[in-house]
Amino acid sequence: VSVMAEQVPPDSRRCSYFFLYDGSKVRGEGDLTREGICYFYPEETPLDQQELICGQLAGVSRCVSELSFSPVRVLRLRRHKFAIRVKDDFFWALGCPVEVPSVSICQLLDQLISLFCFYNGSISLSYQIHSRDILAARWAQYLSRLQSGSTDLHHIFSCLKTIDSTIVDPLLLLKAALILQACQRCPLVLAGCILFRGRVVSTQMFPELTMKVMVHENETYKKVTRPSSSSGWFGGVSSTTVFLTASELQYLQLTPVHKDLQLVLSFSSQLTPAGDSQPLKSRLSRTLSDVGSTDSDLSDPGSAQVPQKGSFEVAGNAVLCPVVSQGATNLASHLNGKQMVEKDEPQFHRCQSSGSDAHGGEQTCSKDTATIDLTSRGVDTERRSCDKKEDGTTAQPLGSGGSDSQHESPLIPMMLYLHRVKGLVLALLVEPHFLNDSTSMEEVYHSSLASLNGLEAHLRTMSPGVPGAQGPPGLYSFAHYDSIQSTLTTNLSAGGGAGAERPFVRAASLLHSHFCTTETLQEAIIRSASAAVYGTRTVAQETYFQQHGGTLRNSGIPNHQDSAFLLPSKARHRLQKHGVNLL
């Protein structure tokens, strides 16, 4: 019996192996392989076996990359497949059971590495500063965090846990968005998100970044909040240093906040002038208190709420989903990371672009870059893997180019400011000196405190159970993935994907891989003797549907009356009540 097979955890966690190997520690003849092993999961693996796996995989990968002049991306064994990343002397490998799509496992490894870098800065520096044990504990923490998906579908689609918008009053979402926008008026605040019990309520950041921020929130949620020295006098506030890549920073600075804010304000018929004429402080507090009162007016389920619902949703969504439009990306791709790298520069730059005219800021940036080499690759990192124009093999190296440059480009230290009110957390990415600027801090803290309390109180009463348990299970299974917002809506039970739901998950996994590798594919129906699954996708979404019950009577011959071919219309009909609109 295979040793490797024995070690597959019984609960079929997504990851069965993960290790980081530092080849620079094993150079000489007498050097032991164990010297190079920075971290190995599962930690209980005998050391000689760790050495064997690390040594062989790293060795064979090097050999292959020398033959092909390119690093290995996916390495498959009979029972496991490994996503591989190489950066200088560091070699990462993440192993999963072979059923997990290559697309997903590569994404997971990249996430894991970027998560580490987000909290610790560059890999090589981290290992110079900290002991292996400390960093090993962090790898373990990030790994367990990324594996915490509730269904097998979460192993296929990398997604954010969001608050179930169908059971939350849209006004609350709007309120959350407004709190974030108000905070952002402090020039030292880059962007933020509001989380409730480990779920996203509202975010101004793109999904990958929100995901990273959530890891810390999750940790502090468990522990007793320990305020950092600089902010000891604020209750529930803590902070930690984080590191952004140049492209992440650029992206945050380019988000057209002001435009969105104005949109929101006009929709909520608040007469707040958007100009800069008013003093900053009064504007901050006034906006928030105004919204607070509006909220209390409307929060009782009265008729006033109904007619406005539509418009609020529009505004809410606009804020919830930071624009990942092609335009923004193109713009970002013209910018260069270099000016952000010099540590004095960002502040200057930040002040420029956070002026009243966002456009002006952009122009400044473009002018700066004209003299510097353009490295547009970094921006690709943030693009969805499925957008890649690759057609062919199943094992596509996803986001390959992007992730590389993500590691190569120097990281810029920033602060993550967290303000906790019971289950609710306001997380803000701020300039490092924000914490020394007591005026700004006070402003942000006091102006948001009341609103946060109010929001918390509402959310506590409004979110009843675990979202996801929507729709009658047993009649049909569905999964709807929004690749722009990285959200997954499904009626699979938590811990699902076993038993009767297994065929659905398997089909969704196959179809997802197919969609990812075939750009032109729009719709598919696949049928085995026991299950027929329908999958459809647009640029932004993927939807999978399976009808249960009723015997699938078929002989496999083409027949237009066959129930399998009625799936598209059934899906359209059924999913409408889940807020999924299939055209």
């Binding site: 060795g59 050999c63 292959v64 390495l75 498959r76």
Partner: protein
């Protein structure tokens, strides 16, 4: 950038094939000096140095973790597929995006199949096969490798251009009257005459068939012959194509094509001219004799200069010498794989070939060897499982019975040859250990002796059917005059049809006849997996000829879509999905696999086994997936003859799905209607 190699566990390269690009890459890594060196051995060394760490890592993984690599993918999309079969490691590489993991795995299996057809049961002994695949004599090695390389190239060319090799089923020429006449002719005139001639030297024609390019015009099997499996038939077609390549473009050559093939373009890997280094090839000799014309598709001088192997050329043997091929024989008492046959390829005109498969007089010996091999393999298995003593010896087959039979068998062989003496010695030693009173008897210590016995038996087999067969021993076959007579008879019969056939083979059936009934239908492929036959409108995509799909890029685009569709649906089938519909760009694709009984009644769809990704490829050539599928499905339909069909369609996306499905249904029933069935 392509490469395929077979390595032993000790990282010795037993065979390699590389395209020019890969060769250049290797040479770059080892400096130009190597290039001017000894040619072949130098390159071989580079290859083995480059791959050695990978091969060694593979065996370490197997030994210590019981795991093995199946594939690597690099960031620039190079794909490596590794496959361990017996004691050999096959590695296939693609660096130009033309082949995916599945294609490479298929290529590995096809190479293995071709080796089995060429070496038969010698493949069952790794010691012997190693010696066969890598002869000490470099000239001999170069010749053998060149032969395998061209076979592989021919296969790749067919797989990429011929629909029947895409879906791995035989395509027949659709002309019922002519086909019927030809079959009758083969039966009543040709085979009868050959088998009653005294010049046949003990051989007996079992199968006779006429190929027009890759399509079957007529196929006749004599009454006492077992069925020729689709897998074997497809392998034989590859061999015929390798000897007498039919390049469609050649029939109306255009200047561009001439240039592209003589240059270093990617097409140059396909060498339609039979390799002069090939010992068994009759091509160049035929040309010299002025008999049948042979395509001179590559300028021989250029070929000579480009191919360093040419320097190792030796004169080819007599063209009338048949090829030894090892094919499956199914008899009432059981299935015998890799039984020796002789294959005669008689070219009638360019593109049209008559193939005769004969049973050789000593064929029965092969069956005995196979039975003994099986007996020792089973004994070995029982001993490995821990059975001892009489439990091991009395199993099926009973070793005491085997002992008596084998004693007689060895006596019959006669002690004249060294090989027989060796077998005798090992057998005596085996008997001493297993049967004598004081001996250790049947226990684990006997396992190595089972292996020795198997090696010795394979040695006997090799001596009888491989060594015996070559220059000097060519008396035992249909006489040259008999072959010439057969050739002339069929030529005479088909003389008036020859041009028609060549055109017909290119446009076997055309979409035109279906357009009226099936508006919006662009293409379809129908396969009868029970008989291993397929039917599809022609998809010839050449620069010069305008197909129904239009010219150049459009036709090429659709062709690519069809090829991609086949690989996609195979992937779903491997995972248990027998129906697939896809809306892809402006097209709508359908795939159906279903079962019927003999009277055409549609049977309920059954569960199809879910196979791992690195499993043998789905098809009929290298590993007969469909035969196993049919056997699996038949278990739940005992007493019924089960048939299996597949239908692939490509429609315009604007056609409503309901209409498309109706089309599929109509096509499915129409194509296999007995009265309209053009396949039989």
């Amino acid at each position: 950038m392509k490469c395929l190699l077979i390595a032993s566990e000790s990282a010795e390269v037993l065979f390699h094939w590389t395209d020019r690009e890969f060769q250049q890459t290797v040479q770059q890594q080892y400096g130009e000096s190597q290039e001017e060196g000894q040619g072949l051995p130098a390159f071989e060394d580079s290859i083995s140095t480059l791959f050695a760490p990978i091969i060694i890592s593979c065996s370490t993984m197997v030994d210590r973790l019981h795991e093995s690599y199946t594939s690597f993918t690099t960031e620039n999309n190079h794909v490596y597929v590794l496959h361990q079969m017996d004691e050999y490691l096959y590695i296939a590489v693609n660096g130009d995006g033309e082949e995916g993991e599945d294609d490479l795995r298929r290529k590995i299996y096809v190479l293995k199949k071709m080796i089995e057809v060429l070496f038969g049961m010698v493949t069952l002994s790794s010691t012997l096969l190693r010696r066969e695949l890598r002869p000490q004599d470099t000239v001999h090695r170069a010749r053998l490798w060149r032969h395998l390389q061209t076979l592989l190239e021919t296969y790749c060319h067919l797989q990429q251009n011929d629909q029947s090799f895409l879906v791995e089923a035989v395509e027949r020429l659709i002309h019922p009257t002519l086909c019927e006449q030809c079959i009758e002719f083969l039966e009543r005139r040709l085979v009868q005459q050959l088998n009653s001639s005294v010049e046949r030297a003990g051989e007996e024609v079992l199968h006779a068939f006429i190929l027009v390019h890759t399509k079957l015009l007529a196929f006749y099997s004599s009454r006492n012959a077992s069925t020729l499996s689709t897998s074997d038939l497809l392998a034989l077609i590859i061999m015929v194509q390798n000897m007498y390549p039919s390049n469609m473009e050649l029939e109306d050559p255009s200047p561009e094509e001439g240039e592209s093939t003589s240059g270093s373009g990617h097409e140059s890997f396909y060498t339609p001219e039979p390799s002069p280094t090939d010992p068994d090839s009759s091509g160049s000799d035929e040309a010299r004799k002025g008999g049948t014309p042979v395509f001179e598709f590559v300028d021989p001088d250029i070929q000579m200069a480009e191919d360093s192997l040419q320097t190792l050329e030796i004169p080819p043997p007599d063209p009338s010498t048949p090829r030894r091929v090892f094919l499956e024989v199914s008899l009432k008492e059981g299935l015998y794989p890799m039984m020796p046959h002789s294959m005669y390829c008689l070219p009638l005109w360019p593109g049209i070939t008559l193939v005769l498969i004969t049973k050789i007089p000593t064929g029965a010996l092969a069956m005995s060897v196979y039975k003994y091999l099986e007996a020792f393999a089973k004994l070995e298995k029982r001993l490995m499982e821990g059975q001892e003593g009489s439990a091991a010896s009395r199993g099926q087959p009973n070793m005491h019975e085997v002992r008596n039979k084998l004693d007689k068998f060895i006596k019959l062989l006669g002690p004249r040859e060294i090989q027989t003496m060796q077998l005798q010695n090992v057998w005596t030693e085996f008997k001493n250990r297993a049967f004598s009173r004081g001996g250790p008897g049947f226990n684990k210590d006997l396992i190595p002796w089972c292996k020795h016995m198997k090696t010795q038996l394979c040695g006997i087999y090799k001596q009888c059917f491989l060594t015996d067969f070559g220059p000097g021993h060519n008396s035992q076959h249909l006489s040259t005059s008999l072959q010439e007579r057969a050739q002339a008879m069929v030529q005479e019969k088909l003389m008036d049809w020859k041009d028609f056939l060549l055109v017909k083979s290119r446009r076997n059936i055309t979409m035109v006849s279906y357009l009226e009934d099936f508006p919006g239908l662009i293409h379809f492929i129908c396969v009868d997996r029970s008989t291993g036959q397929m039917i599809a409108p022609s998809l010839s995509v050449t620069e010069r000829t305008t197909s129904e799909l239009g010219k150049g890029p459009v036709a090429q685009f659709i062709k690519n879509k069809v090829w991609k569709l086949v690989s996609t649906t195979r992937h779903y089938l491997q995972k248990g999905y027998s129906t697939v519909t896809l809306r892809d760009g402006d097209f709508f694709f359908c795939y159906f696999l279903w079962f019927e009984n003999e009277s055409g009644f549609k049977l309920e769809a059954g569960d199809i086994p879910v196979l791992p990704d690195d499993f043998a490829p789905i098809g009929m050539l290298a590993w007969d997936y469909y035969r196993k599928l049919l056997r699996y499905y038949s278990k739940s339909h005992q007493g019924e003859v089960v048939k299996c069909y597949e239908l692939l369609t490509v429609h315009l996306g604007v056609i409503p799905a309901e209409i498309i499905l109706q089309h599929c249904r109509q096509l499915a029933s129409r194509l296999w209607e007995p009265t309209r069935n053009p396949l039989l």
